[in-house]
């Protein structure tokens, strides 16, 4: 079954003629060639595939394309449009909030949404909000520090 799926991707209108039951993750990674969004578990358990839809973090590996019809999707590639890092990316860079870097786009997008919802989170709110994003390398302390720094700037990421 093919349908036309229209949505806004990183600020630009896109249209896909495809099966609307496909997962957003794979449409991003294959049809749209945005490979910053990663596969980790395929069941929404690790957060590596996190993107932001209308300001909310979603796990793109369990998100049907049909559900983003008419909505606004932001991926890691959309945060630094024009080549300039967003504050949350800059904070991850400054605070070494990564090691292997594979979970990092998901961490950054989840943090980005967290700060959109709550620009001044407490440490406990950060930890609660990031609990579903796994980092096997164990960069958590630096990830938390990066989010605190980005929040401390008093700007939305």
């Amino acid at each position: 079954m093919t349908d036309t799926i229209r949505f806004t991707l990183n600020g630009k209108a896109v249209s896909l003629e495809t099966d609307p039951s496909r997962k957003l993750l794979w449409a991003l990674r294959t049809d749209l060639e945005l490979t910053g969004t990663k596969y980790g578990c395929g069941e929404g358990m690790c957060g590596a595939c996190t993107v932001v839809v209308d300001g909310q973090a979603v796990r793109s590996c369990v998100t049907d394309l049909a559900s983003v019809q008419g909505h606004s999707v932001t991926t890691i590639e959309g945060l630094s449009a024009g080549g300039e890092l967003s504050p949350i990316q800059q904070a991850f860079l400054e605070h070494d909030g990564y090691q292997c870097g594979y979970c990092t786009p998901g961490q950054i997008m989840n943090a980005h949404a967290l700060l959109l919802q709550n620009p001044k989170p407490t440490r406990a709110q950060i930890v609660e909000g990031m609990e579903g994003n796994l980092c096997r390398c164990g960069a958590y302390k630096h990830i938390r520090a990066a989010i605190e720094a980005a929040a401390g700037q008093g700007r939305q990421s």
Partner: protein, 708 residues
């Protein structure tokens, strides 16, 4: 001449030609001695052939070519720092090309915390030699003796007249110099370091925060197909029948069923997945009797004869001299590597050549594996390693590269094999479960009288003690990765063996301190004169404000201590925990880790590696345990394999103990080795319950508390 040496020579010639102008330094370091267990575990000796290339281009940019890979440990940056410092350039002109078999020199693999220890010296020697070659050129150009020249940030100055200078780029221009380093160059001393010993921004940072960093799964080729591969329900199962007809009838699906490899392929990975679901297979599954509880008896009964690497003094005499003796058995579980990036390879096999982009710790190990599987000469296989999304020892085998290459050869198109998470948990080479049996004694003066140590399945790394024990025996049963011993694949898992051995051995030390009525720190200091051990113990005691107490607290709050050495580094940990006596929940409040790793190339990177090891170790402490029934792996995804999340990370304080007289040592692994024991010792202090099995789940902690 071996095939490998021929390949290196051929590639070198083509490579030099391809680089065009500039100065190329080839490093030929002598065979580097590695401990016997490393050689045994890792196959071929570290090569005595060419270890590194360093190229200075006409624009002054410098490229280091290394067969190592970057998987988060930060070696792209630290190797760059080493080369930049010895060469006398800034880090921002350094480029590091890694893990490409066509352009990088042969390398055994990235593991064992060996990059900085064994490869680092070769890189530094190359860069130091390059500095000499360039300053010789400068001496000719400027018409002054080399001794009157000084190098700063890639510019050679005449010390008497700094207006008289020439840059590396200018010197490289129009040259095509190839120099092979054979003599030992004079390296900088720690006091002369300008780039090493600091923590610059990592070279991979911007790529990794923008999503621009490419991993194997991010590679794209025209016409490529994604494969989903049929896996048996259990290791050891054999197919009775396989029916691929329904899958083959699906539009856009290619089915392969050849030589035991059954797969569904499609341009859309989700379509390949649905097609795989349409493949019907019946299996003969061997009966499974052993599970995670029964495995320990199995490991002991099937172990065979031991190796006895240590047998000193007189155990019976030691026993007789003991005021107290202790005999304890400890168990550790199978653990998964669980990198967030599953094993992934994209293979393109055409015109008699294969190119494979692989998520691997061992590109030069994958190369002959792929060549054998395809029936190709090794020189017709190229492995390219993009960024690797975590390895931890689990990405040394090349199964997914072989699968991708075979499928590409069969279907005549590029094929991506990106294991779904269930495949990752099925095909992982798990860190083996282990049994440790320790008998030991202590006399009235608090000295260890004898030590009789038996380890099953974990291997010998870290099995012998850092303590001065005259009557001592160490027996190693079953090796680490013995065939037909386990029901599925096993292999190295971050500091393999050492973390299992230390779990038992540093608890036994703690138990003997308590039996002797001594403070655990004082007991350790009384029983070792090893200066590096003493230094890290004192450093961690100072940082954690350790106060001597012989009696345990038993009030739900506890403090543990553990000591170890691994990969040339010494580590001592202190952990503060609180234990909920009603639920068995353990909360780690803070961990201190003192580490002597010799010269520190990048302090922040070293701290992050230590923190990473501690964080991974906490998962093994509390929750990581593979669930299985014989060869059937029941763990399929992260919901049944819980590792450390952000909320479980305590405050961590890393103390790097200065030791600039020693060359840089390992950093990726040492901090994990004490985690099991330091937490168990803290739980004992808090409750009086001795935790002899990993992981220390709330149920198990509660059960032990109830016995006290």
């Amino acid at each position: 001449m071996t095939a490998r040496a021929r390949l290196t020579r051929m590639d070198r010639r083509g490579f030099v030609k391809a680089l065009g102008g500039g100065v190329l330094i080839l490093v030929s370091a002598p065979a580097l001695a590695a401990p016997e267990w490393e050689l045994e575990a890792q196959g071929p000796r570290y090569p005595s052939d060419i270890n590194a290339y360093l190229h200075i281009a006409e624009d002054g940019q410098v490229t280091l070519f290394s067969g190592k890979i970057e998987m988060g440990q930060g070696v792209m940056t630290s190797l760059g720092q080493m080369a930049a410092d010895e060469l006398g350039v800034d880090l921002d002109v350094m480029h590091v090309v890694m893990g490409d078999t066509a352009s990088c020199p042969w390398d055994a693999g990235t593991w064992g915390s060996m990059t900085t220890r064994f490869f680092g010296p070769a890189v530094r020697a190359a860069a130091a030699q390059a500095r000499l070659v360039l300053t010789d050129l400068a001496a000719q150009r400027l018409g002054v003796p080399r001794a009157e020249l000084v190098v700063e940030k890639g510019v050679v100055y005449h010390t008497a007249n700094r207006d008289h200078h020439v840059s590396y780029g200018d010197l490289a221009r129009g040259q095509q110099i190839t120099h092979t380093v054979s003599e030992k160059a004079v390296l900088k001393s720690v006091r002369e370091f300008a780039v090493m010993g600091r923590s610059p921004k990592r070279l991979d940072g911007r790529d990794k925060v923008t999503g621009g960093a490419k991993y194997a799964g991010d590679m794209r080729l025209p016409g490529m197909l994604y494969a989903r591969i049929l896996r048996p329900p259990a290791h050891g199962a054999t197919p009775r029948s396989v029916d691929t007809s329904a899958a083959a009838a699906m539009s856009g699906v290619t089915v392969v069923n050849q030589g035991g490899l059954v797969a569904a392929l499609a341009a859309d990975p989700e379509l390949a997945e649905r097609a795989l679901e349409a493949i019907k297979a019946d299996w003969d599954v061997p009966p499974a009797t052993v599970d995670g509880d029964g495995i320990f008896a199995h490991l002991v009964s099937e172990a065979g004869d031991p190796q006895t690497p240590v047998s000193e003094g007189d155990l019976a005499a030691g026993r007789t001299a003991s005021a107290r003796t202790l005999e304890v058995e400890y168990h550790t579980a199978y653990v998964a590597h669980a990198p967030v990036e599953p094993h992934t390879s994209l293979a393109d096999v055409k015109d008699g050549k294969a190119t494979v982009w692989a998520s691997t710790q061992s590109p030069f190990g994958n190369q002959p594996q792929v060549a054998r599987a395809l029936g190709f000469q090794i020189e017709n296989v190229r492995i390219i390693t993009p960024y690797v999304g975590g390895g931890f020892g689990g990405k040394s085998a090349g199964l997914q590269s072989v699968e991708a290459a075979r499928l590409s050869q069969i279907v005549g198109k590029p094929v991506m094999v990106d294991w779904p998470r269930r495949d990752e948990f099925f095909n992982d080479t798990f860190g083996p479960a282990a049994v440790l049996k320790i008998a030991s004694g202590v006399d009235r003066a608090g000295r260890i009288t004898f030590w009789d140590y038996q380890v099953y399945a974990a291997g010998g790394r870290g099995a012998d003690v850092l303590y001065d024990i005259p009557n001592r025996r160490v027996r190693i049963y079953g090796g680490r990765d013995r065939e037909h011993y386990h029901f599925f694949g096993t292999g190295p898992w971050r500091a393999p063996g050492a973390n299992s051995n230390k779990f038992g051995y540093e608890q036994q030390i703690d138990a003997m301190a308590r039996a002797a009525g001594m403070d655990p720190l004082e007991f350790r200091l009384r029983n070792t004169k090893d200066p590096r051990a003493v230094a890290v113990l004192r450093a961690v005691a100072r940082a954690s404000n350790w106060t001597s107490r012989a009696a345990i607290r038993r009030d739900g709050r506890g403090r543990g201590l553990a000591l170890g050495a691994d990969a040339g580094a010494y580590v001592a940990h202190v952990a503060d925990v609180t234990v909920d006596r009603a639920t068995g929940e353990v909360k780690v409040e803070k961990i201190w880790c003192a580490q002597d790793m010799g010269i520190v190339v990048n302090p922040r990177g070293a701290e992050m590696q230590a923190e990473g090891g501690i964080t991974m170790g906490l998962g093994a402490c509390f929750s990581e345990e593979l669930t299985f029934q014989g060869g059937r792996i029941i763990t399929k995804n992260f919901d049944s394999y819980e590792f450390t999340r952000m909320s479980r990370v305590p405050e961590i304080e890393i103390v790097l103990v200065p030791n600039d007289r020693l060359d840089p040592q390992g950093g990726g692994e040492p901090s994990i080795i004490n985690m099991g024991a330091v937490i168990a010792n803290a739980i004992y202090d808090a409750t009086g319950a001795r935790m002899t099995r990993l992981p220390m789940t709330p149920e198990r902690v509660l059960a032990e508390i109830r016995k006290t």
